[in-house]
Symmetry: C2
Subunit: 135 residues, 2 copies
DNA sequence: TATTGTTATACTCTATAACTATA
DNA sequence: TATAGTTATAGAGTATAACAATA
């Protein structure tokens, strides 16, 4: 009897989330806050709707996450030039600095998770995950 | 800027869990019930403590899951022959039948998740995950 | 009419502490 | 004293519906 790939994914994913949660504690952030910072850093400025689509997070959850990050001074909500309904989530200087530190930490935790694999295998895993993980 | 493997794992794992949850709705089960049935089927009979260790589930959560499965008539709690504290979780005939149907469904959902990959790539992914997913 | 962000709400998941009965 | 199971509880994650402002 073989474990299903879904089961293996779920367990490895859960471990990754919990590991990053523990690592982010000093920043007062959770894994999902980090993913929002990551998306905003990658794209420069994103509507909340786009953030939710990109990360697979419900719009109402995006509101709460961006609230937290804004209170912590890590993001701003800028007006959209053409659409007054839309608010663009943009990293502050402080947010960019915090994201840099958190990204270094995430990379360290990745290394621990992937310790049993060599460099080529890590690259293969990342590639396969990227191909099935699109929302 | 590259996505972290932890992030990719978390997202793919979340999708797998939600997909299986939807598929299991007709059975009145959730993904975690299914993993308990899977472990019990694989090992014949397991102490709740062993179930928790194996699946990475807290003992108090195991109680609730086994309660559900017992109420549904899918598992029994048998006494341990040597230790009266321990209760062995064993599949009933009904539980074995339901697990078989659910396993077919899980395999179908795996296929959907893994659609972008060919057979060799699927095997590679399962192998890599198995190597990093040990608790 | 449809969409963006928001609020309220409920349900699931996860984790912790304290208790019982056994060892 | 330590361990297996249990109970209670709280916090985090997820999903849905309804609303205001705007398109």
């Amino acid at each position: 009897m073989d474990d299903s790939v879904g089961f293996l994914l779920a367990r490895a994913g859960g471990r990754a989330i919990r590991g990053l949660n523990r690592g982010l504690e000093p920043f007062g952030l959770r894994t999902r806050h980090y993913t929002v910072l990551m998306a905003a850093a990658q794209h420069g400025g994103l509507a909340q709707r786009e953030l939710g689509d990109l990360l697979g997070i419900d719009p109402s959850a995006v509101v709460a996450l961006v609230d937290d990050l804004q209170t912590a001074g890590l993001v701003r909500r800028d007006p959209h030039p053409d659409d007054r309904r839309t608010r663009l989530v943009v990293l502050t200087d402080e947010g960019l600095k915090t994201f840099g530190e958190a990204a270094a930490l995430a990379s360290k935790i990745d290394d621990e998770t992937l310790a049993p694999l060599d460099a080529a295998e890590r690259a293969t895993l990342a590639d396969l995950l990227r191909r099935i993980a699109r929302p």
